[in-house]
Amino acid sequence: MTGIGMLSVEDQMAIESHIKDFLVKSESQWGALVDRGGNLFAENGDIGQVDLMIMCALAAGSFAATKELAKRLGEGEFTALYHEGSNMSILMTSLHFDCLLITVFTGNTNIGLVRFYAQQTAGTLNQCLLSASESAANAEPLLLDAEYSGDQNIIS
C-alpha cells in the first residue's frame, strides 16, 4: 500500500495552508487533497452545497477511469486531468502516495494560471505527504475502547 494511513493535526494544517495559498494565487474556488481511493484528506475554499465525499469519490474514479487511456498512449498514467465547463472547471493533478490535488475554479481565472500554480503546489504537497507518511509509519496504531454488548469475556 502506498497511500497515507493517517494525518496528524500538524500535517493537516500544513496541507490546508498550502491549499489556501494555492487558491489565493490561482484565484480558484475550491481545492482538496484526496487519495485514489476517494478519501478526503484536506480541503479549503467554498464549493457551495456540493457533497464533498461524492466530489472526492467521483474525482478519484474519473482519474482512475482514464488510466487505461493513458496506457494505450504509452503513458503510465496522466499527470493531470482537466475538465472544462461553461462556468466551472476542474483540474486534477497527480501527486505522490496515490494522492490527487483537485481544483475547482470559475471563469474568473484561467487554466493556465491554475495549472501553473498547481504544479508548484504539487511539489510542496508531495513534501507534506512524505512527512505524513513517515509520521504514519512511526505512529502507534489507534486503539480505542469500543462498545460491546453481552458477555465481554468471550475471547476466542
Binding site: 494544517m13 476517494g38 457533497d51 469519490a57 512511526n138 462498545e147
Partner: protein
C-alpha cells in the same frame, strides 16, 4: 486504505460490495440509503446505464460514532458485475478496507458466483492485496426466491476456507438482512481499532 484524520477526529473506511452481475449489490445500497437517517448518510450516486446496470460504481457515504472520540465514515461502493468491466472493478477496489461479497442464491447462478469470487481474489492481487488481509463478509442474497440454494451448499462452497467468515442471509429486494450485513462488515473493520479485540499497541 483506512484513513485516520486526527485533526477532524475522523476515520474513513472504504467498503466494496462485490459479486456477479445482477446479484443485488446496488439494491443493497438503495435499501441502506432509504433506511438510514439523513443525518448519517450522504447522497447515493449511481453511475449506471439507462437500464440501471452499474457502469462504473455506486457510491454511498455513511457516518456513525461507534468509536469513542472519533466519527467513523463508511464509504460504500459497488462494482459492475458484468465480466467485461473487470478493469473497472480493479479500479474501484483500490484502497478497499472491507468487502461484502454478495451471492445470488439461484441455482443456475452458482457458477457465476464462484467465478466472481475468484475474480475478486485476482483483482485484489492486482491491487497488491489479498483475501487474507482484507476483512470480508458474505451475504447470501435472494433468499426469498422459490427454491434457493440451501445454506449448506453455500457455506460449503463459499465459506469453507481457513478462516470462517461472517455470513448473512438477506433479501435486498425487501431490505431484509441488508443492515445486518453492513453492521457485520463494519464491526470487522472497527475491531481493528479496538483494544478488546486482542490488538496490541505495537509499532507497525
Amino acid at each position: 486504505m483506512a484513513f485516520i484524520n486526527y485533526s477532524k477526529r475522523e476515520i474513513q473506511l472504504k467498503i466494496v460490495y462485490y459479486g456477479c452481475a445482477l446479484c443485488g449489490k446496488t439494491t443493497n445500497l438503495i435499501k441502506l440509503h432509504s433506511g438510514i437517517n439523513s443525518t448519517q448518510k450522504g447522497e447515493l450516486v449511481s453511475l449506471a446505464t439507462d437500464a440501471d446496470r452499474t457502469l462504473f460504481f455506486d457510491f454511498l457515504s455513511l457516518s456513525t460514532q461507534t468509536l469513542p472520540g472519533f466519527d467513523t465514515r463508511f464509504q460504500l461502493y459497488t462494482v459492475p458485475g458484468q465480466p467485461v468491466y473487470n478493469t473497472t472493478r480493479q479500479l474501484v477496489l483500490k484502497g478497499v478496507d472491507g468487502i461484502v461479497f454478495v451471492v445470488d442464491s439461484h441455482w443456475d447462478k452458482m457458477e457465476e458466483n464462484v467465478e466472481s469470487f475468484a475474480n475478486l481474489q485476482e483483482n485484489l492481487i492486482e491491487n497488491h492485496l489479498s483475501m487474507a488481509q482484507i476483512p470480508y463478509v458474505i451475504q447470501y442474497n435472494k433468499r426469498d426466491i422459490e427454491n434457493p440454494a440451501p445454506l449448506e451448499y453455500l457455506e460449503f462452497t463459499f465459506n469453507n476456507r481457513a478462516t470462517q467468515s461472517l455470513t448473512f442471509e438477506a433479501s435486498a429486494y425487501t431490505g431484509e438482512g441488508v443492515l445486518d450485513t453492513l453492521n457485520g462488515v463494519a464491526r470487522l473493520l472497527l475491531a481493528k481499532y479496538s483494544k478488546s479485540a486482542g490488538n496490541k499497541a505495537t509499532k507497525q
